[in-house]
Symmetry: C2
Subunit: 323 residues, 2 copies
């Protein structure tokens, strides 16, 4: 049975349920094959209402970016997103962006994919990127700042995306240092800024952004569900992914220009205003050890300033925060 045959059947009486038995009989396949076919369609972004004894009903077709309207919306709000590489399925937008950057792609080059099959998160973790449900994208930057300021870009990205998602969704979203975006204590966005440097000079930086826009919990593996959410889950209705992309790029570009003109101080202030744990006791797990202290804010390079029980301040450059 081809997926096309199954789809034809499922769409011939719009709005009505069609039973697994009928599908099985008419396509001359087993009930198990029907069930597998339905799951394949779900992976492609089809959504079903399924009711015992009545069968399946398509309630939502896969969401696809429309390239023309994406270009139009981007063009209204930002000079970034050009060139635009819009792909259906890719291993990782980060890897394609790296190839493009190595070949000289300019600042503002954007890679978006409907689906990543090998999306990467921080520290080599798997990042789940189901088809049509999120914004999985990488932006190429060519920062002029010397190498030692590059980690500030991670904070800049976090605050820009936090502000953009609040604007688009109206939801209360906060930043967990350095760059996780949370609603409640569930993650709605992952940020991975990779950079390539030569001596003291940054050749390029890749801002990898994965936003769970319309992801349903069942799209995700069971083990990550307790920690994840999406704009759709929180709002109770789907959110326009094109608007999300345009809002993010626009805010990123605005803050990036502010940063280039006035340095990190205004970015740090905006970051702290959106941060979740400032003034609270947090635990930080670094590669070497685990520390507890009060998060006091950002140092001038974007490090987290942790107040120890004796009142001294320890700067933390990388690690996982828990609170």
């Amino acid at each position: 049975m081809r997926d096309e045959q199954l789809l034809e059947l499922l769409t011939e009486r719009p709005g009505e349920y069609i039973s697994g038995e009928e599908i099985s009989r008419r396509l001359s396949v087993s009930r198990t094959a029907v069930w597998k076919g339905i799951n394949r369609l779900k992976e492609q972004g089809y959504e079903f209402d399924s009711v015992t004894r009545r069968g399946y009903r398509i309630v939502r077709l896969p969401d696809r970016f429309d390239e023309v309207s994406l270009r139009l919306q981007l063009g209204k709000l930002t000079s970034w997103g050009q060139p635009l590489h819009l792909l259906d399925t890719i291993g990782s937008t980060q890897d394609l962006a790296r190839e493009l950057a190595e070949k000289g792609a300019p600042e503002g080059t954007l890679v978006i994919a409907e689906q990543q099959t090998a999306g990467r998160g921080r520290q080599g973790r798997v990042f789940h990127s189901p088809a049509g449900r999120g914004v999985w994208m990488t932006l190429v930057l060519r920062p002029q700042q010397p190498l030692q300021y590059t980690s500030q870009l991670t904070l800049l990205a976090a605050v820009a995306i936090c502000r953009a998602l609040r604007d688009v969704s109206g939801l209360d979203i906060g930043i967990k240092w350095p760059n996780d975006l949370l609603i409640g204590n569930r993650k709605v966005c992952g940020i991975l800024v990779e950079s390539a440097a030569e001596d003291g000079h940054v050749r390029y930086a890749l801002g990898g952004f994965g936003i769970d826009v319309n992801v349903a919990l069942e799209d995700l593996p069971e083990e990550v569900r307790p920690l994840a959410t999406s704009l759709r889950i929180e709002r109770g209705e789907p959110v326009d992914r094109t608007a999300v992309v345009a809002a993010i790029l626009s805010e990123l570009e605005t803050l990036y220009h502010l940063y280039n003109r006035e340095g990190f101080a205004p970015i740090a202030a905006l970051w702290e205003a959106s941060a979740l744990a400032i003034g609270k006791v947090v635990t930080v797990k670094t590669l070497q050890h685990t520390m507890t202290g009060i998060a006091r804010g950002l140092g001038e390079n974007g490090e987290l300033l942790l107040e120890q029980p004796d009142g001294s301040i320890t700067p933390v450059y990388s690690g996982e925060v828990g609170f």
Copy 2:
């Protein structure tokens, strides 16, 4: 005519000259073909004495690293150089090292090639790496310092290699900021430190080192000859490349451990003690503009501190120094 036939002829009467005419006649090829063959052998590292009307005489066979004695000498002086990848011809040691680092190669992994066909210098420049004449190598590092300190590694590499080459050759070698090693005003070594970071964390750094050990000026393209030299040219005799590799790795490891224990201050002091232009008027060409001032030393991130005519200090993070 195969190179092997030419070599057979050239080595049949050791110490004696053999004329181009004889070679041409006995191999039944043109005089131009003979001349081209001799040039191919030169590129492989053969050296000739050629005298008008008498012909060619091999005076030096290609120098090859002996892997066993290289491993032995490294083993005596340093824990680095393991795993060792010793290759004959490669595009760029930096590119292979990057592949190995991406696959998890440990700190101390070393890639050495007799010859690079696409050696890279700073800012995408071509780096010439003729067969058997130099040390063309890349060392994989996994620094624990946060990203903003990575450019200090470039300075650390410069001072370590400067000290090692002085030890091995007895020559007076100085550093031009940030990391060119000069004898007189001619360059004897190029250093390219590339790094890959994820947020505030350095995933790996690649120390690419190209040392003109036994390079003759005729090995180099005409346009770079006025600016280049080699240990052999300055000493008037060949220098053992294996000793050069071992001395460099040993000094690098020593200074790296010092740096990890005590920070950048002792490295900066050693660097300044070997620097060529401290206290002198220099011109610095950056991507944006050209500045003139007195080089006062290194700032705490390795930037060059340039005293302006009005007495103010401008930090320079990347650029080309002239004096």
